[in-house]
């Protein structure tokens, strides 16, 4: 599905390059559930953002579904990830001014889906996540677990093949976290490729493959 070849990213501090990622090579296939682990500052999030095309890199090649991302223009890149990638964040990042329903609907609006179609798709999603009764509430009226559920629903609404999650359970208690991870497992079984960044060994165990980062390099890969 995607492959990173010799990816490096650095920022220059005091005239010296400071590597965030150094010569990362990584291939991820369709249907995988990959966990990225590593201590703070090891480059986990940076790697995830580069995969999600939200961040640039200084060196290397990135092929996403056979498209060379590093040569694409901003607009094309945005069109690409908008179509194929969904994001889930630790802090949920729902829009406070919009209701649950509208939050989930937003990506469809930006993909110019017709109003009637949008209605049907969002209704399906609400149904599936069993949050129909909450559709008119605002994010601040929901618990953390429910907010993350909405966040995932929003990430999935445009039917992406790849779901990127940056510590999706970081702000949740263990029970809520478990529910989210079970949901991820189930989604993966349905064919969605998932890459998650996590601190927790237990959560990493849900994946099919764990990548350990240290100081911007891939230190080790393991199968749980």
């Amino acid at each position: 599905m995607l492959s990173l070849k010799h990816i490096s990213k650095w920022i220059t501090l005091g005239g010296k390059p400071n590597f965030l990622l150094k010569d990362v090579n990584l291939t991820i296939n369709q249907g995988e559930f990959v966990s990225i682990m590593g201590p703070s500052g090891s480059g986990k999030s940076t790697l995830l953002h580069i995969i999600g095309m939200l961040d640039d890199f200084n060196e290397g090649e990135y092929l996403f579904m056979d498209q060379p991302v590093h040569t694409l223009k901003e607009k094309q890149r945005s069109a690409l990830y908008k179509q194929h990638i969904g994001f889930v964040f630790q802090a949920y990042h729902l829009i406070d001014e919009l209701t649950v329903y509208e939050n989930i609907e937003t990506p469809l609006i930006y993909q110019n889906v017709k109003s009637s179609e949008r209605k049907a798709i969002v209704a399906d999603m609400l149904d599936r996540f069993q949050i129909v009764g909450k559709k008119d509430l605002f994010p601040t009226q929901l618990s953390g677990g429910q907010q993350q559920l909405v966040g995932i629903a929003r990430a999935l609404i445009a039917k992406p093949q790849l779901l990127l999650a940056d510590e999706p359970t970081g702000n949740l208690n263990s029970k809520q976290g478990e529910e989210i991870m079970d949901l991820f497992k189930q989604l993966n079984n349905e064919g969605v490729t998932i890459i998650q960044v996590t601190h927790s060994e237990k959560n990493a165990g849900y994946g099919s493959r764990i990548i350990h980062l240290l100081d911007g390099r891939i230190e080790q890969e393991q199968q749980p």
């Binding site: 908008k82 990042h93 993909q111």
Partner: protein
């Protein structure tokens, strides 16, 4: 999509009530202010535009070269209009127009006064004042014909139909036949007359105007639509010289101005038309734009100030697939929605303030409910204002990189954005300072005019028009009037002594250069004129009954003596209109005209005819009411066919400076508004700064910073901005106000204190505005602010 913009806009507003109120109040005030000014400006431009022939109507003006100067005026000989038409085929119609007069009409027992004028018979063919009765051809054809307005017809006869063809007595001197009734002149007309008398009568009454050297009436021509205007202008240039011959040391030329332009462009400078009301129209248009700009800047600043809160939303929107254009559209859309809401408030406000505004500006502007164009303008104003004020936030906010804002590392504080915002504040406060300084200077000048020592006392001076039987019984009326308890002195003058415009070249003296053509202002007065007007005598004496030969005596002002060059003027010869006499007195210079003009040489002579002009009475301040009642009774006895109509000199004086007073009042309002709106913006910005520096403040507090030191840190920057704005505004304000004051011959000197006051006021208001915010930020618990990291 639209629904979405609307929804987010409304929800955002609800969530931030304080912010939204500041935003909407500021914008509404700005909008209502510009709307009022716009309506006023449009009304000014609409003056006289309704005349069907407006493209071909021209005023003729005179440019005179004499005494080493060039002057221009619309005053022309009374026979010019007819002569031009006779000689030049390019003219289709022409008319002379006399001076406006309040005339007394009598029908049976009914006596009423109306304001009107005299004109040639072409009048109704040229101008679009629809006739209800009669036809344009015959309306003013005969020496006895008079045209009257619907109001006047209704007042006397009940209906226009009933008035037509009837006879009415005017000023108790002549019976005239109503040959036409016209619809009341609309508010968009620069003239407002209830009657128009034929020109033959006017010329017979004022036969001096049949001579080419005497000017006063206006001349207006209607050119044929195929006429070559520039050729015509060349033809008329030396028209008068060709007819009247040349005079040594004097030359007159004729010029042409579109009739519709006269209302706004009626001033002359060195013989060329230079401004007039248009200057006020321009001034207020600029102010309208300024205020709207200030309001827009507010909007920008307040919205960007809130960008911290919305940065995350933008990041999320971008991550879920919004491209930049989409976000720009969203923010512009929101701005337009907010502007539209502000506009609704502004329109409501406009509806309620319009009557007061009309009263202030003496206008009859109506709320243009049914005017489609108005609503189109409103819609475009909403769009333009919305897009203008939303553009910066839209561009700025949409440029956030999603990952940085989502990570919480905000780059809102980018240098360029900061400079831009500071620039806006400087601009805003520079405009406000400009308005404050301008307001102070204008009101200083207005006060200066009102309090200036004119050289005479205009308080408690009553003017009664000398008309009807009054001239006949002049001596006995004056005798009786002077005995009324509460009247300290009586006199008369053949013209209004507050606005003396009658100038003449018919003066001469010993040793005068025969080719020099100095102009003297002249006035014929009764006995005790100096006493009644409280004009100071410098040397010699006033006219007196104890000198039988006083009909050959002249009293001059200082300027006149200076012009003549006599060192010891008393007893020296002076010739006026061919009558040689002697100078018996010299008065100190007094302002007998507008303070816009320098004092002209003046010659006073004793009035022999006393058949027109004014009786002047000085009242004792405390007994005004009783004296007035007595006077009314006396007037009725002597002049039964005329109502007792009078004016106070002071009121007339105030009227002469109407536009200055109005400018003063309006600029007061607008300056206050501008400052208010600017402060709203500053408030928003202070909120922004406090929010942005919340972490810095938290750290400083943990390190032991005191409240005072935090306050200084937070306020310093703003005060610096306001100060810079003020420094920029000063020279511009000085230049603008100096320019404005040039229009006054008698003007104040611009002091430093209005500048200092404006500067201090701006700083103080700014400081008070931001202090609420800074104190709140400085008082906040550092733990909560640092946790937000």
């Amino acid at each position: 999509m639209l629904k979405h913009y609307f929804l987010t806009a409304i929800r955002n507003m609800k969530r931030n009530k304080v912010f939204s109120s500041i935003n909407i109040i500021g914008l509404s005030l700005g909008l209502v202010c510009s709307l009022l000014i716009t309506l006023w400006v449009l009304d000014e431009y609409r003056k006289d535009a309704f005349h069907v022939n407006k493209e071909n109507l021209y005023s003729i003006y005179q440019r005179e070269y004499y005494d080493n100067k060039v002057t221009g005026s619309f005053y022309t000989p009374g026979i010019l209009a007819a002569e031009l038409k006779k000689q030049l085929p390019a003219i289709e119609n022409s008319t002379a127009i006399g001076w406006e007069q309040r005339a007394t009409f009598k029908l049976g027992d009914k006596i009423l006064q109306f304001q009107g004028n005299s004109s040639d018979s072409d009048f109704f063919k040229m101008f679009s004042y629809p006739l209800l009765e009669g036809n344009a051809q015959a309306a003013l054809a005969g020496p006895n014909s008079i045209a009257i307005s619907r109001s006047m017809a209704v007042a006397f006869f009940g209906t226009p139909q009933a008035a037509f063809g009837k006879i009415i007595r005017i000023d108790d001197r002549k019976d005239m036949t109503i040959s036409a009734v016209y619809e009341d002149m609309p508010g968009t007309s620069s003239i407002q007359w209830d009657y128009i008398i034929n020109w033959t009568d006017f010329l017979d009454k004022n036969s001096w105007l049949k001579e080419w050297g005497n000017n006063d009436p206006l001349t207006i021509v209607q050119l044929r639509s195929d006429a070559d205007v520039s050729k015509f202008e060349a033809q008329i240039k030396n028209f008068i010289t060709k007819i009247a011959g040349e005079f040594p040391g004097y030359r007159v030329e004729l010029g042409l101005q579109k009739y519709t332009d006269k209302y706004l462009h009626s001033n002359f400078k060195d013989g060329v038309i230079a401004g007039g009301r248009i200057e006020y129209v321009r001034l207020f248009s600029i102010i309208a734009v300024f205020i709207l700009l200030i309001a827009c800047i507010n909007f920008m600043n307040l919205t960007t100030a809130r960008s911290m809160k919305r940065a995350r939303e933008i990041g999320v929107r971008k991550v879920v697939g919004a491209i930049r254009g989409r976000l720009i559209r969203q923010f512009l859309g929101e701005a337009v929605v907010v502007t539209a809401i502000a506009m609704v408030f502004a329109l409501i406000l406009l509806y309620f303030t319009l009557p007061a505004f009309n009263q202030l500006t003496q206008k009859e502007i109506e709320f243009p409910f049914s005017n489609g164009l108005f609503w189109i303008c409103i819609a475009s104003l909403v769009l333009i204002t919305g897009i203008l004020s939303g553009s910066y936030p839209a561009l700025f906010l949409s440029s956030f990189k999603p990952i940085t804002v989502l990570k919480g590392v905000l780059r809102v504080n980018s240098a360029s954005a900061n400079w831009f915002r500071k620039g806006l504040v400087v601009f805003q406060f520079a405009l406000s300072s400009l308005l404050i300084i301008g307001t102070i200077v204008v009101s200083q000048q207005v006060r200066f005019i009102q309090n200036s020592n004119l050289g005479y006392s205009r308080d408690h001076v009553l003017k009664i028009t000398l008309q009807g039987d009054l001239p006949k019984h002049y001596e006995s009326f004056m005798q009786r009037a002077s005995q009324v308890n509460g009247i300290s002195s009586v006199s008369s003058a053949n013209m209004d002594p507050i606005r003396l415009g009658n100038i003449t070249m018919g003066v001469s003296w010993e040793g005068k250069d025969p080719d020099a053509k100095p102009t003297f202002t002249q006035l014929a007065v009764g006995y005790d004129f100096l006493k009644t007007m409280e004009i100071q005598l410098k040397e010699g004496r006033d006219f007196s009954r104890s000198f039988g030969t006083d009909t050959l005596s002249y009293v001059l002002n200082e300027t006149a003596v200076k012009k003549i060059g006599y060192t010891d003027p008393i007893g020296k010869p002076f010739t006026f209109w061919g009558t040689k006499g002697t100078i018996v007195g010299v008065v100190k210079d007094f302002n007998f005209n507008s303070l816009h003009f320098a004092i002209n040489p003046l010659v006073l002579r004793l009035d022999r005819d006393k058949n027109s002009g004014f009786v002047l009475l000085r009242l004792e301040g405390s007994k005004t009411m009783a004296a007035m009642q007595q006077l009314e009774k006396l007037h009725k006895e002597f002049n039964p066919n005329f109502p007792f109509s009078y004016t106070f000199a002071d009121d007339d004086f105030q009227k002469a400076y109407k536009s200055e007073t109005l400018t003063g009042k309006l600029s007061n309002c607008f300056a206050a508004l501008a400052i208010m709106i600017s402060c709203l913006g500053l408030l928003g910005l202070a909120m922004f700064a406090a929010e942005q520096r919340v972490r810095e403040i938290g750290i400083r507090k943990i390190l032991g910073a005191s409240l005072q030191s935090l306050f200084v840190i937070l306020s310093k920057e703003f005060l610096l901005l306001v100060f810079i704005a003020f420094v920029i505004a000063c020279p511009i304000a000085w230049w603008m106000m100096n320019n404005w004051l040039q229009d006054f011959e008698f003007r104040i000197h611009i002091d430093a204190w209005p500048f200092a006051l404006a500067g201090i006021a701006a700083m103080a208001i700014a400081l008070i505005t931001i202090s609420f915010q800074t104190i709140r930020a400085a008082l906040a618990n550092p733990v909560t602010s640092l946790k937000s990291e």
